[in-house]
């Protein structure tokens, strides 16, 4: 769990999102739909982005889980860029976008605007109209070079 070995008993029916938030007090991962469309609950499991509302906690037994509270080389450039460009507003969708962007830049360090939009099309934001987020990811990518 964010680089630290953790273990806990969990009911079979508890989702990963609820486990993170309620059992581990990692409330940075947010729930905005609980049916896998909005992406606010996105975390990384063994490096791959997943909707934690659609995974059961038991499914990450033995896995590496990274949340917004964690670390990754892509995180600091993304945070710096998002901060400079005022990419976000209410912040509720933000952790999901950030984790999605981490995966994007890992897989595609030089994404075009169109590729960025495609990659984040599974994350809903109601405040920004997306452009400031796209620019933030582009700026982080540019600096990463």
């Amino acid at each position: 769990m964010n680089g630290v070995r953790r273990s806990a008993p969990v009911d079979a029916r508890v989702t990963l999102a609820d486990f993170l938030r309620d059992d581990l007090a990692l409330t940075g991962t947010h729930l905005a739909c609980e049916h896998g469309v909005c992406g606010a609950c996105t975390v990384l499991v063994d490096g791959a982005s997943v909707r934690s509302c659609l995974l059961l906690a038991v499914q990450v037994d033995g896995a590496d889980v990274t949340t917004i509270e964690g670390e990754a080389p892509e995180l600091e450039p993304l945070r710096d860029a998002f901060r400079e460009l005022l990419s976000f507003q209410c912040g509720f969708c933000t952790p999901g976008f950030v984790m999605t962007a981490v995966e994007l830049l890992r897989e595609n360090p030089r994404p075009s605007d169109e590729e960025i939009r495609e990659a984040i099309s599974g994350n809903l934001c109601r405040c920004t109209g997306y452009e400031s987020i796209v620019r933030g990811i582009a700026l982080a990518a540019e600096r990463g070079r």
Binding site: H30, T67, F82, C127
Partner: protein, 779 residues
Amino acid sequence: MTVAPAGRYVGESVPRVEDARVLTGRGRYLADIALPGMLHAAFVRSPFPHAAINGIDTAAALKVAGVVAVLSAGDLDLPKLRNNADLPGYLRPEFPVLASDRVRMTGDPVAIVVAETRHAAEDGCDAVEVDYEPLPAVATIDQALDPSVPPLFDDVPSNVLYTEEKTYGDPAAAFEGARVVSLTLRPQRVAMVPMEGRGGIADYEPGTGELTFYSSNQAPHGLRVHLAGLLDHPLDRLRVISPDMGGSFGQKTSMWREDLALCVASKRLGRPVRWVEDRIENMTAATHARDERIEVDAAVTDEGTILALDVKMTLDQGAYPLPAMLSPMFGWFARHMAPASYRLTSLRWLLTIVATNKASYGAYRGPWAVETLLRELIVDEIARELGLDPVEVRRRNLITAEEQPARMLTGPTLEDVTSLETLERAADLVDYDAFREEQRRAREQGRLLGIGFSTYIEAAPGPPDFFDGLGFTAGGERANAVLEPDGRLSVYTAQQGPGVGHETTLAQVAATELGVPLDHVRVVHGDTNLVPFSMMGTGGSRAATMASGAALMATRTVKHKALEVAGDMLEISPGDLEIADAMVAPRGDPGKAISLADVARRAYFSPQPGEEPGLRSSEVFDGSTRGGWSGGTHACLVEVDPETGQVAIQRYVVVEDCGLCINPAIVDGQIRGGIAQGIGLALYEDAAYDEDGNFLAATFMDYLVPTATEIPAIEIEHLHNEPLEEVAYKGVGEGGTIAAPPAVLNAVVDAVGGGKITRLPLTPERVLELLDAAVAVGT
């Protein structure tokens, strides 16, 4: 990134104070708050739009492991609810906090289950047995208007709750002999869809009788007053705290029936009780908006001058008129704003409010937006029918700078309004004439390109006389400032913004005024124990002017007090002192500087005889004395696929005038976000009910919120005149949502070659219908 000279932040896109927590997952939203001993609540809700309740059996639910209590209507001991407004002719039915003998909307709350965990509470909900007897639903405006359909409420005789006709000028004379252009439009219901839904934590402390209520809410004091009244709980022992808000767009300005049930549960059990709704509840049982049927007739001259508008607006307010949400007010605001910056001399407005078996109609970003929708659509229709250019028709009807100050037909003074200038600039930016040529050429190749304009203004906060014709005032805005003993500044605001950046913008204003680094200022908000009273809180795009003005004045007062003390310490007249970078020095003599911290320490720890101990202030700002309008022109360029009816936005240009921007990036963020919602409304979103009243849009699979692949890059240019007064920042929060739908819709109709939109959203299917009709007419 621009770095502001230390101490001068206004006008710069400084990074946000909020982002330190937003970007690290350390925001503290309602669902993140866990209190010792806290219980969890879930609501049993009606699956039927309309049904009688013949019995509620909670026995099985009480036996579910972890369930602590189950309360239904009979257990609450609360008065019935009704809308607060004592408006002649307005039917105000009564209804219980939890449904007792009848449910009137899908999602109507019937019981609250309180348990040790959320899982147990939901298990408990499944075990509550409710004996429903379904009844026919009132599912449409026409059914609500039909006198043979039984009223939904026993204590009012009709489902028509209000009718009002108002006339300005002489529409009868204007229509006589005039050419008439008409439109009938049935906009859809939409949902606000904040990413964070509703919730509440009621925390009653039996030892002190204090009730603390946590709620994501734009108006914490307003909520406190409403709760106190209905719970009969003393205000001095009722505290409302709004934590970080995950969006709202006007939805979270209400007191919910669920809030009252939570408070009763907490008082009964002596423990905190938390409810966090899920998305299905938010879509189904929170509030919806924009559900209005519009019939417009415009009397025009052959040259396209608009002489009069005759509008019939029928608003579907759903089942329950919520206590603090006065449906007629939405109609009044729309009527009040309808002339906008056009030279309109006669208006007739017939407003009808009906009740149906749907979720309640609530405030959504620019709640009066239907006036811009109908006006901008009919302007383009006028152009088409008269064979005129739509930009030219606007040009002929918009007031000029020379005519200002002018009075809107409905009363407010128009001054410093640059609608015409924004229109001309937008036409320039899209290279309008060249586009028309490109459009002609494309059509020859079977490609459908179109352009749509939309010109609007919003009262942000509006001129001093804005509210006169509406019969109420919004009042001044208070801010308190405290210069702390270490020289840092706390500013207390009544604003509770749902993520719009007030913590940053108000700090920019205060830090610039005081002469300290930005991070020496903290903006305090959201806790009614701390912040100034305001029933309204955040709304109406007021904050940029009202809250900034109040923060400025409060900071100025505390600065003058500090300079008095400093003057005494330095033995120099306060008028000769200035503060920069948290140091106080005589103008031109920085060598004599002392720190603001030292000044504060003296004021707090060793005030001199006659000196007030401490450094604090409280000021009220009354708003702009002139002007107070924001507005602009949107231009949308689309290509419509003639096979599929899909609309692709090729370019979207905004020329906006909101006066001086405190933080340009925050301003542009508001515009873009608003436009995204407007595009959603025009093309994708539909909070639909079927003909039996069943709700069809409870999830994001059904309710289509635009993604990054639907919203284009938006070009924004700012225009502004010389400021008329010191507080020259105007609000911009709602303009995008108001102006975007007609810009997009006008563009689509322009692309297909004409036609009248009757229903929204403009789905590909509806676009193809328009196209077929246009082809049939031979355009």
